[in-house]
Symmetry: C2
Subunit: 228 residues, 2 copies
DNA sequence: GAATTGAATTATGCATTCAATATTCTGTCA
DNA sequence: TGACAGAATATTGAATGCATAATTCAATTC
């Protein structure tokens, strides 16, 4: 698996081979990472000067990075008053999840329609692994495999636009660290849902795969919300 | 109706009352408009100097605007080589439409679930108007009302995240001017689809409203593709 | 003692300047 | 005539500087 993770989103289509990445995109990625990891707290105001000193760059590329992150919805740019990390209300979290559910539903649908057999078998295999980690109560590995499955389905859909739209929204809920808590009931149900999805994919039942993916996301959100 | 249109997307949450908009956002909007209107052609390279002279500003705010538009997917930023208007292949158009269909489907679903009666009745009324313009073969008005209905449903969904995600993708297909041609058959079918959607909304049948909206979009795309 | 006004400070918005890379032009050679 | 090498030019990337708006803080007034 590629290990660049969220700090290098696939936006970088044609970055030149050697480490000659533009400062602005480097800063964008670093800042996004910091926000996602919680080093910068929602509601917190960003001080340009402090960051330029921390990064050792001038304000110009930093400000360009801020514009990009604002476009991604991670920051609010308030005229003459600077950038503020967007705070996410419960209501907004609900909004985002609803959209994510629709997008992942579409991913399931498209994966069932268009993916090649190998991709679907890989997803099925991962789902077996998921069950195994559940049986062993291995939470960290479970989370990893769960992420891998979702990513695999998104990829199998073969729609970069979908991938990008999903990525943007996923950034915004990642901060919620919604995976931190998982009740036994929810855990069991989630595994079963995944098995249902894998089955639908193998059966090439696009409609069912889509519906199950969507439901899976909505249930996941219900579980998060239940915790408060 | 508010008349700021696409040149002032709802990103501007807290713009200060008096006309003191930042240059960078002004330029962003102007440039986006120019791209959407086709004044800047896909594949065309953007010359910063030329644009700074045209707008009468320095390169700094212009470059910030370019970063934002690149984040929106309207431009590709190639290191040391400048910005290029993204050209949309047929494949990409198909991708975007698929996602748009999912998003509008969600909008229909949410509108049926959450909108207040007044909003739904407004949509129903607009749908009657739509039928009337169809009967009169008044294409320009038809297009206007059609747009208004879609916008009204999106708004009725009461999900700003959905609205924003939709807006971003809508920008990208707007350039296709897919409304320019409309066969008699397709036109009739579209009106009927809209009536079905309005009925589902009034019946508060979220599932049906969602499915019909999604289908409506997919059919619209089929019609575009048929033309080539 | 709390509130308010105005000066001092700080931060932001934009323009300008400098540096590095890419592109174009010109002359030479095959 | 066409291809190539190298200089000249243009363009992009980043830093600095300046103007303006916002924030802070102290002094004054009620």
């Amino acid at each position: 698996m590629d290990n660049h993770g969220p700090e290098a989103p696939m936006t970088a289509l044609k970055s030149d081979p050697i480490g000659r990445t533009a400062l602005a995109v480097e800063i964008t990625n670093r800042l996004r990472q910091m926000i996602l990891e919680g080093l910068l707290h929602p509601g917190e105001k960003i001080n340009e000067k402090a960051l330029t000193e921390q990064f050792g760059v001038s304000r110009t590329p930093l400000r360009e990075a801020l514009k990009v992150l604002a476009a991604e919805g991670l920051l609010d740019l308030i005229p003459h008053r600077g950038a503020v990390i967007t705070r996410q209300s419960d209501a907004e979290l609900a909004e985002v999840f609803r959209v994510l559910a629709a997008l992942e539903g579409l991913a399931g649908e498209l994966a069932a329609e268009m993916a090649d057999d190998a991709a679907l078998e890989e997803i099925a295999a991962l789902t077996l692994d998921l069950r195994a980690t559940y049986d062993k109560s291995d939470r960290p590995t479970y989370f990893r495999i769960n992420q891998a499955i979702h990513k695999a389905i998104l990829s199998a859909a073969g729609n970069d636009t979908l991938l990008r739209a999903h990525e943007l929204l996923a950034f915004r809920v990642q901060r919620a660290r919604y995976q931190a808590n998982l009740t036994p009931d929810r855990w069991r149900a989630a595994v079963e849902e995944h098995e249902g999805i894998a089955a639908a994919l193998l059966a090439r039942d696009a409609d069912r795969a889509g519906r199950l993916m969507k439901l899976h996301l909505l249930r996941k959100f219900d579980a998060i919300r239940a915790k408060g």
